[in-house]
Chain length 292, copies 4
C-alpha cells in the first residue's frame, strides 16, 4: 500500500471479522465496486484452525454512490448481518485523538512527539498525563497540555476517575502508555478495549512483571526485546502488536541493558502506535492480525 493512503482524503477503511464461509471477498468487493467505489488496498487472512475470516479494505469514496453517513446502515443490512460480521468503518480524514501517559522516562515520549512533528503520526495529541512531574517541562516545549495525577494505593480509583473524565472531555480515541510505570485498573482499561497501547520493556512472555532488565541480566540471556501490546485486565497478557529485539553480550551491565533496551522500546512502541493509527490492527481472542 502506498505510504500515504490514509493521509490522503476521502477514503474509507473497513475492518471485518466473521466466521469463515464461501464468497466473503466476492461479496464485499462487489458491494464496493457496484456502488462505484475503487478498491485501493485489500488484505485478508483466514485462520484455518479457528475457521475465522479477517479482512481490511480501503476504497476511494470520490465517486461512491452511497453517502458517507449511510454506508454503515447499508453495509450492516446487506452484508454484516447475513454473514455475522464484526466490523468497523473509518474515514481517512478523521484524525484520531491520542493521549499519552508518562512517568519519568522520556525516550518513548520524545520518539512519539518527534514523529508527530514530522507528520509521520497523523493524530491529534490533546493532552499528556503524568503520574510524576518530571516530564512536564519537556511536554511544555511542544505546547501540549500536561496534567499531573500522582497515584498511590489510596487515591488510585479516584484519580483514574478524574483522568477518565479528562480524556472524555478531550474526545480521546486511544491512549498510549509511554513507559507509564503504574498499572491501570481493569475498571479503566475496560473503558478502552483495544484502545490502550503499552510498551513492555521485555520480550513477552519472558520476564513479565517489573524489573525485566534485572531479570534478563540475572538469567544471562543473549538477546533482549520489547513488546508493544494492547492492555487488557490481565497484566502483560494483552494482544501483542509488535516486538523486536537487540543482541547483547556478557559485557552488558544492567545499565547498558536498560540503554540498549530503550532503543528497542521506543521503536517498537512507535510502530505499534502507527499500526493502530493506520487502522491496520484487528484483535481476535487475545491475538492480533496486523494488516499490510
Amino acid at each position: 500500500m502506498p505510504f500515504n493512503t490514509l493521509s490522503m482524503r476521502n477514503r474509507a477503511i473497513i475492518r471485518i471479522q466473521c466466521p469463515d464461509q464461501p464468497g466473503i471477498v466476492a461479496k464485499v468487493t462487489d458491494f464496493i465496486h457496484r456502488n462505484n467505489g475503487n478498491v485501493l488496498d485489500l488484505d485478508q487472512h483466514t485462520d484455518a484452525g479457528e475457521k475465522r475470516f479477517f479482512m481490511r479494505v480501503v476504497w476511494d469514496l470520490t465517486d461512491f454512490t452511497i453517502p458517507r453517513d449511510h454506508i454503515s446502515t447499508v453495509f450492516q443490512i446487506e452484508l454484516a448481518t447475513p454473514m455475522k460480521m464484526e466490523w468497523s468503518l473509518d474515514f481517512s480524514d478523521k484524525k484520531l485523538r491520542m493521549a499519552i501517559f508518562v512517568s519519568r522516562s522520556s525516550h518513548c515520549l520524545f520518539d512519539l512527539l518527534a514523529r508527530h512533528m514530522e507528520g509521520e503520526l497523523d493524530v491529534e495529541i490533546p493532552l499528556i498525563i503524568g503520574n510524576h512531574v518530571d516530564l512536564e517541562q519537556i511536554v511544555q516545549k511542544f505546547d501540549i497540555p500536561f496534567y499531573y495525577f500522582p497515584i498511590n494505593k489510596d487515591n488510585k480509583a479516584e484519580q483514574e476517575e478524574k483522568e477518565f473524565k479528562l480524556l472524555e472531555e478531550h474526545g480521546v480515541d486511544f491512549v498510549v502508555l509511554a513507559r507509564y510505570m503504574q498499572i491501570l485498573s481493569s475498571n479503566f482499561t475496560e473503558k478502552y478495549p483495544n484502545r490502550v497501547i503499552n510498551i513492555h520493556h521485555s520480550f513477552l512472555p519472558a520476564f513479565a512483571g517489573a524489573k525485566p532488565y534485572h531479570a534478563a541480566h540475572s538469567r544471562g540471556v543473549k538477546i533482549i526485546g520489547a513488546t508493544g501490546h494492547y492492555v487488557t485486565s490481565e497484566l502483560d497478557e494483552g494482544p501483542i502488536i509488535f516486538q523486536d529485539v537487540n543482541h547483547i553480550t556478557h559485557h552488558d551491565s544492567i545499565e547498558s541493558l536498560v540503554q540498549k533496551g530503550k532503543d528497542v522500546e521506543k521503536i517498537v512502541l512507535s510502530r505499534a502506535v502507527k499500526a493502530h493509527v493506520d487502522r491496520k490492527t484487528l484483535v481476535y481472542k487475545n491475538k492480533t492480525i496486523i494488516f499490510n
Copy 2:
C-alpha cells in the same frame, strides 16, 4: 495461510498481474465463488506508481464446477482478455521438478537436500549437475543422479547445450544455482525466464561480482548479507526474492566472513527456493512481489 495449503491436494493457485482498474478483485473472486470454488487464500498488491495490480488466489477445487482442463480457457475468455491480464494457473498436486547446479561448496546443496528429505521442499529432484566432481560423493549419498560438465571458455556453449537437453529430458521446471561458480550464458538463462534461482554471496547491489567477501573485508563493512534472486542475462541484476544479513566485527577475518556468510547464504537460498516452489513469487520489471 496454513503452512500446508499447497501440499494439500485439489487446489488451484492463480497468479495475476494487469493494469490497475476498478473491480478486479470483485470479478476474480466472483468467478471463483460463482463456480462453487472456495477461496482459501488471497493476497493482492497495487503498485500505485506503476498503476499495476498483482494478485494470488488459492481456492479449493473439490466442488468447482469447471473441469480442471477447462479452467484456463474459461478464465482467459471471461477475465484475462478483457482485463489485459498476464497470469499463470497451477495445481497443488503437481510437484515441480528442480535441478540443482553446484561447484565445490556443499553448504547450500546440503541445506536444500536436508529440507527435501524432511518434506519441507515439496519437489522432485531428478538430477544434480556439477562443473566440478567434488560433490559427486555427497550427491550419491542421497541417491540422486549426478552429472559432471566441466566448463571452460572453449566448450561452454556446447556443454550448456548438453545440460539443457538433459534438463528437458528430465522435465525440469526450474534450476537452482547452489553456489554454482560459473556464469550461465544468456542463451541458457533465457530458456528459463524467472526459473533460474541464484544465491549471490553478498548483499546486492553492494559487492556485485566475484569475491564479495574480500571486497567487504577490504571496505570494512559491519554487516554482510546474501541475496537470492532470479537470474537474467544481466549478471547480478535479476529480480531479488529474498535477502538477509549477519553482523560482523573487526575481529572477522576473510575466512570467518566466508563462514558467517555461508550461514546466511544457505538460509536465504532455501527461503527463495521455497517461495518459488509455493508459487508465491511474481516478477514485474526486474522486481518481485512475494505473496504471503
Copy 3:
C-alpha cells in the same frame, strides 16, 4: 582473531577466572612473554558487580621455553594459586571428540554433519546415539556409528548407564543434543558439567518446557527464537551460549512456526557448538562469557 587460529598447530589456549585484583593481565602476559611465547589473542572481561575477572589468551608455542607437559604445573604455582584462579589449558592440535544425541528431527544433525564435512567444525565424531531409529539411515550415509537406545520410564537409568559407558569407551569430550527429545537425568548431566550442549526450540526463558511453538502460537507472539545452552540438572535453566530469533506474523500456522523455528534452531545450535569447540566459552554462576 583470525578464523583459523585454533586449526593452526602448536598453540596454547588458556581460560581463566578469578576474583578481580590488580595486575592480573600484566602477570599473565608477562608469564607468557618472559617464557618466549607470543600472545596471538587476548580477550578479558571484568564483571564489576561480581568483582570477578575472566580472560582467554591464545599464544604461539613455537619458541615457548616451558615444555608442554610442564606448563600446567608452572602456571599453577606461579600464578593460579596466588591469584585463586580457576583455569583450563588446551592445545590447538588436540581435536575434541563430540557425540551427538538425536531423536527424529534431522535438521540440526544435518547442519552439524555438513559443517563437519566442510571442515568448519574441527572435531571428531566417534558416534551418534538415538532414542529412535529414524535417523539411522542418514547417519550411515556419513559413515558414523549409530547406536539405538530406546528409553522409557523403566529402563532410563539402565540405558543412560550404557550410554555413559559407550561415551567413555569412545573418549567423548562433550555431547550435543541435536533436538534430542528426552530429558537426561541429573545423574548423567553431572558427569559432563558444561559439556552437554542443548538446543531449546524457543527463546528462553519464554516458553520453557515442551511444545514451545504451540505455546508461542497460542500467545500470538510476533517473534520466535531458539536458545543454545549448557545442560544442568535444572531443566531449561542452564547457562545460555547463543540465541537468535525470527520474525513471524499472523499468517504463520503452528506448522510454519515449526519450520521457521528449525532455521533458527540449527544455526543457533551450530554456533553454540562452534563456540565450545573453539574454547571460547566460560561459565560463571549459570551465565556464560563468550570470548571474541
Copy 4:
C-alpha cells in the same frame, strides 16, 4: 565493561595502535600496574593480515603515581617510541564538545538531543549549525544556540570558513552531521580527521550518493540500511563505525522506505556517536576497530 565506566571520574583511557610484536600487552599492563594503576577494562585486537596491533585500556587513576600531566611524556618515552605506537590518552572527566550540523530532517537531531537530555550522551553541545532555518525552532526548545549558514556554490568556501571559526571559538571536539544534506569540502573535513561523523541513509557501499531510497526502491531490494561513518575527503568512502538494516517488502513505497529508513538512521547515528564519545573507536586504513 560496565556501562558507566567513562561517566565515572578519575579514569584514563588509552588507545594504541602499532606494528604487531611480542610483549605489547605485557609491557603496557605492567606500566599501569607498576605505577599503581588498576586496569578496569582492556580490549585488544591483532590484525594478522596487516600485522598490526590495536588496544584500548581503561584504568583507575586514584592511586596512580604518575601525575596526570606527566603520563603522556612518560608513556611516550618508555613505551610509545620504542614500540612505534600511535596512541591517544583521554580522561573520563573531560566532556567532549559536540557540534551538530542539520538541514531539514529532524529525526536524527531529536534522537541525539533526547539522549543528551537523558544523560546517555555525556557531551556538551555548544551549538547547532543549519544550512536551512527549518529546525531553528526545535533547537530553541532545547536552549542551544542555532546558527544559520545558507550554502550555495558561490559562498561555500566562505561560509565553511565562518563555520570553522565558530567551531574553534566554541572549542568543538567533533562534529555530527545529522542528515546534513550538503557535502563538506575536503578543506573542512581535513581539519577534523576522524572527528566528523555522518549518517548515510543507505547500507554502504550499496546506493552511495544522493537519493538512495529511490535507488533501493527501483532496484527492488528486500532490505534497507543505514551507515554511520567518519567523513573523509572521499565522499561516502570514510571508515564505517556502525551499520544496521530493516527488512522491507514490495508493499513499501518510496515514502514508506524513507520512513522505515529514518528509524534505522537515527539509531545507527546515535550508536556511532556514542562509540566515538566513549572513545571506543580506532581508525586504521579506512576501517574501524570498535572496542567493547
